[in-house]
Amino acid sequence: MLAFLTARQTGLDDPLRLRRAESTRRVLSLKLNPDRDVDRVHGNGVNTIDIEAVEGRYMLSGGADGVIVIYDLENYSGKPQYTCKAVCTVGRSSRYVHKFSVETVQWYPYDTGMFVTSSFDKTMKVWDTEMLKPAEVFEFEGNVYSHHLSPIARKHSLIAVGTKNPKIQLCDLKSGSRIHVLQGHRAEVLSVQWSPRYEHILATASADSKVKVWDVRRASGSLFTLDQHNGDKSKASSEAVHTAHNGRVNGLCFTGDGLYLLTTGTDDRMRLWNSANGENTLVNYGKVCNESRKRQQLTVSRGCSPEFVFVPCGSSVAVYALHTGELVTMLRGHYNNVDCCAFHPDYQELYSGGKDCNILAWVPVLRPVDVEEESNKGAAGQSSVNPAFQDTWSSDED
């Protein structure tokens, strides 16, 4: 750390370098912190969370009972102890609440005044944050598994919607209508994701174990379909041609720079693809438990030098190194399956929500006090420790 600082001071290093080193260190030391709490509002499992990109201050969460909550993550109190308060809630008593489980929530990328939610009640709602009223409601024929707004789009304001219907719907916020349909999948579309690099590129994952990449300007069909065997016909059985997984593909995530695409499937695998040509990079992440029949929300860190993937794995969150596939750590804290996780790029914090109704905040542990400092503190430091941390061996064991 000191070396990085001096190098920075002397101007030897790129400013990015120090930043990367520090954020990597922080990501590696993520832990469940007693100082950080998130209000328990959900009475049912938390299906999805999203942190807004503008300020990084507000977090949306959607519950299995249709409840939507907005949390304030910023700690202005100046104390380490902080509970993320629920700023506002669309509860069961609200007129506009989703009837069934909310599957996806997403902030409008450029403004916190708007967010979009979709649910199993076959609707997608565009909400006005101030009023907590839906400004627009899109209705579909089947359950809505997933939707996504392009984070970088400037030329269009399309929402890609994956429903029970194999056709992918494109809804235009400008006109408030469904303007386009992408055909190609054979089963329900579990996850859709816009590329963070090219605004017209869209990736979709379906229960027919295929992942397709589309250019929405091209009406004729998808750009390419990801193939786990990279076109090697000898390895694939006839029905497994052009499949990304040997099961339902329910997780989809671009890396921060949009160069790679991560997919997870119910075959307990996670795969990393080159998003430019659809090549399987064949990174082995080992077994990634995945039993979900719905969309699973995984996320990738941003701003670290080796990037990390956070993927729900049973009742814990697994942290993998993106390119090596090495399992860095398992974040254990949930008492039931984890459905979603979201990475806060500014503070290197991770938020995860699971079926045990909790949203847990994983906060980097502060660097321990240096040895020299501790020596002059001495006994005072000892006494300041929480009494619960002390051993209480009774004397009769001697």
Partner: protein, 784 residues
């Protein structure tokens, strides 16, 4: 950490967890703590061994492991860190948070473990919850997601509670159905019961003598008589809730009526009774008088009055009896002149003491007048006790159990109460029933008595038996015109003292006897008639004077048998009857010959059949008799006298062979055999016995004893023999397989045995194949 410590810790944990005890051994636990105190590595090791024990599929192991964990949890921060880190798994193993991983058997221990774990987690949360975030999270998870009620003593989760609720709902449904059925039943039976009750009521009213006295209808009786009639419909309208109250009021009225009636009756009989009172200085009469006086003042309380009333009734009844049975002394004593009384009656003295046994309570006797009513009452009584009351009780039970509407329950209860009241009334009446069987007989005898009486014409006459009947039951003797047996004649003596006779319901025999005197007179007339049984009997008696006496009846049986036993010679042997006795003193022509059945065919007769076969054995049997002569018993006077382990001699007195020491041989003072051979044989035997192990020296038992006492009892030698038996690994744990040893599992083992299955399959395929072979070429079968 040293290796020895490590081993010792593993050993201790294993010992503690496999002890099977509900509580931990404190010494061992102390040792663990002592070692753990040394370093965190030890705690690491203990943690891992405890967790591995926790994942064992045995609730006792888990319970003990959990106890160790909770002991250490409160001691060591490091242990807390470790445990809380894997708190989810810990909860799964102890609290059953994952429904797919239920706690292992045995069930009771698992339940105990669960409740203990939940309590412990709560206490941990209270003391460490703020410091260990995951602990708090786990607690909240249990509380909010699993909805564990920490205050609930049983610490049930939602699933369990739901199951409980479901069960309750099911029960409710069943109860509801039952209630509906019962309500329907009640609707149907209600009218019937009402009718029965009403009938019973009116029967009672008819039976009770006060209603019989219509000569002097009481002034106030007519309105009160009408009143119940008016009330009955209203009873029907209301769900009979206030019926009992009305019943009470009716009772009260009845009593009033009785009272008034009694007054009148008393005034009517006053004169007669006055005489009686004068003639008899009886204490009771004065009491009666007093009671009468009180009745006149009407200042007495109800109960005693009622009792008095009953007394009166009784007296009246008895009066009737006296008038019937005795010579109606009282009627004769009516003239007030005392001398005249003496002269007329022929009684010697004025001072008679007449003992009156007054039995409290009403008594109604069945007579010919009220016979029909009484039989109706009996029928009703039977109907109520056997049908209505159980049904009503069943309804009440169903309603109370199901918590049905108050009204239904009240209705059923009221029904029950009124039924019981009716029964109670019936009981209070003390109706003296004649037995029904006798009534039939009596009807027939009565028809002979008074031919002008037409009331019995409705009855079908039972045809009298003609001819000789060797055995006639006691109570039918009179009917058959036989002499009453001595016992009945003794009873007839009592009829001459009717005043002394208790007023208890007359027994069967006494009734017989009362009628027998009259019948005796008739007997002679009957004997003249050749068509009746008595005449036949007379003829029979003349022909066989002796057998008719001996075989007359069971009552004379004992005396006759006594006579015959007296005549028997004392020393004559009693032998069972046999063929030899049958042919006693005769030549046996066909003895020992077996006749073979010839062919019964008309034409075809086998030639070679020998018609008769001689059998010597049979012939001998028919003419001989085996008599076994056992001889007399002589008690054994000698002892076994073999030396025992405690220095004494065996005191058994067997005739030939002692079960412990073999054949009894002469022995000297010390119990040594007298002869040399015997001594040698005994020594040999002893040596042989030493060689072989007695069966009580079970190898395992010996090993246990050795372990306990530390002595070498040469169990190793025995152990070699019992090598085949496998030693159980943890003897203290309750055996899970044992609990699976149910009848079902045993049957399963038999039925699903591989060889059995194979055998059955083989048989079936064979049968199948046979059919196929038989009909393989007949396509006709295939088409049909």
């Amino acid at each position: 950490m040293e290796l020895s410590q490590r081993d010792r810790l593993s050993e201790l944990v294993e010992e503690l967890t496999t002890s099977g005890q509900p509580q931990l051994n404190q010494d061992k636990m102390k040792e663990i703590k002592k070692i753990c105190k040394v370093s965190n590595d030890c705690i690491d090791h203990v943690y891992h061994s405890v967790m591995s024990q926790l994942s064992q599929e045995h609730a006792e192991v888990r319970l003990s492991a959990f106890q160790i964990a909770s002991e250490l949890f409160s001691r060591s921060h490091h242990f807390r860190m470790l445990l809380v880190d894997n708190f989810q798994g810990f909860l799964e193993l102890t609290v059953e948070t994952d429904s797919e991983q239920p706690l292992p058997p045995p069930k009771e221990v698992a339940r105990k473990l669960r409740s203990l774990a939940i309590q412990t987690v709560q206490s941990w949360q209270a003391s460490y919850g703020t410091a260990y975030k995951k602990l708090a999270l786990g607690y909240h998870f249990l509380k909010q997601v699993k909805k564990v009620d920490f205050l609930d003593a049983e610490a049930r989760t939602v699933a369990e509670r739901r199951r409980e609720q479901e069960r309750r709902r099911k029960m409710e449904r069943i109860y509801k159905e039952r209630v509906e059925a019962a309500t329907k039943d009640m609707e149907e039976l209600y009218q019937e019961i009402e009718a029965t009750l009403k009938e019973m009521e009116s029967c009672m009213r008819l039976l009770l003598p006060d209603y019989g006295f219509t000569d002097f209808p009481p002034v106030n009786s007519s309105p009160s008589d009408f009143q119940p009639a008016n009330e009955c419909p209203s009873d029907d309208d209301q769900p009979c809730c206030s019926k009992d109250v009305k019943d009470d009021s009716k009772q009260g009225k009845k009593q009033d009526r009785e009272e008034s009636r009694n007054e009148k009756k008393s005034s009517e009989r006053k004169k007669k009774e006055q005489d009686r009172i004068e003639t008899k200085k009886n204490r009771k009469i004065s009491e009666v008088k007093k009671g009468k006086g009180k009745k006149e003042t009407r200042s007495e309380d109800e109960e005693r009055e009622a009792e008095k009333t009953k007394h009166w009734n009784e007296e009246k009844v008895k009066d009737g009896q006296e008038e019937e049975g005795s010579n109606e002394e009282e009627e004769e004593a009516e003239p007030c002149d005392e001398d005249l009384f003496i002269r007329n009656s022929g009684l010697v003295s004025h001072s008679y003491s007449l003992d009156l046994d007054l039995i409290p309570g009403l008594h109604v006797e069945e007579t010919e007048d009220n016979e029909a009513v009484v039989s109706t009452v009996i029928d009703l009584y039977r109907l109520i006790t056997t049908k209505h009351l159980p049904a009503v009780q069943g309804w009440v039970q169903v309603f109370t159990k199901a918590g049905a509407e108050q009204q239904l329950l009240r209705r059923a209860l009221d029904l029950k109460r009124s039924l019981e009241a009716a029964l109670q009334k019936h009981k209070e009446l003390h109706i003296a029933y004649k037995t029904r069987v006798r009534r039939v007989m009596k009807a027939s005898s009565n028809s002979e008595d008074d031919d002008d009486n037409d009331e019995d014409d409705d009855f079908e006459e039972v045809p009298e038996k003609e001819g000789y009947e060797p055995h006639i039951p006691e109570h039918l003797r009179a009917e058959y015109g036989l002499d009453p047996s001595p016992s009945t004649s003794a009873a007839s003596v009592t009829t001459k003292l009717p005043a002394k006779r208790p007023v208890a319901p007359p027994s069967q025999s006494s009734y017989c006897s009362s009628s027998s005197s009259r019948q005796l007179k008739q007997l002679k007339e009957e004997e003249q008639d050749p068509t009746c049984a008595a005449a036949t009997l007379r003829v029979l008696r003349q022909h066989f004077p002796v057998p008719s006496a001996s075989s007359s009846s069971s009552s004379s049986g004992p005396s006759s048998s006594h006579c015959s036993s007296e005549m028997k010679p004392v020393d004559a042997p009693v032998v069972p009857f046999g063929l030899d006795l049958y042919y006693w003193g005769q030549e046996q022509p066909s003895a020992g010959k077996i006749v073979k059945a010839a062919s019964q065919h008309q034409f075809w007769v086998p030639i070679e059949t020998e018609e008769e076969v001689e059998n010597d054995e049979l012939r001998a049997e028919s003419s001989s008799r085996y008599i076994s002569f056992p001889g007399s018993f002589t008690p054994v006077s000698h002892y076994c006298r073999a030396p025992l382990g405690n220095g004494k001699l065996c005191q058994r007195q067997d005739r030939l062979k002692c079960p412990f020491h073999g054949r009894i041989i002469p022995r000297d003072q010390e119990g040594r055999p007298c002869s040399q051979d015997d001594r040698l044989r005994e020594e040999q035997e002893e040596r042989r016995k030493m060689e072989e192990q007695p069966d009580w020296r079970d190898a395992e038992l010996m090993r246990d004893i050795e372990a306990a006492t530390g002595e070498n009892l040469s169990s190793d030698r025995a152990g070699k023999k019992g090598k085949g038996k496998k030693k159980k690994k943890y003897p203290n744990l309750s055996d899970l397989k044992q609990s699976a040893n149910t009848s079902r599992s045993r049957l399963e083992k038999k039925v699903f045995n591989k060889s059995t299955m194979r055998k059955v399959a083989q048989m079936m395929s064979k049968a199948d194949r046979r059919k196929h072979e038989k009909f393989s070429n007949q396509f006709n079968y295939a088409l049909n």
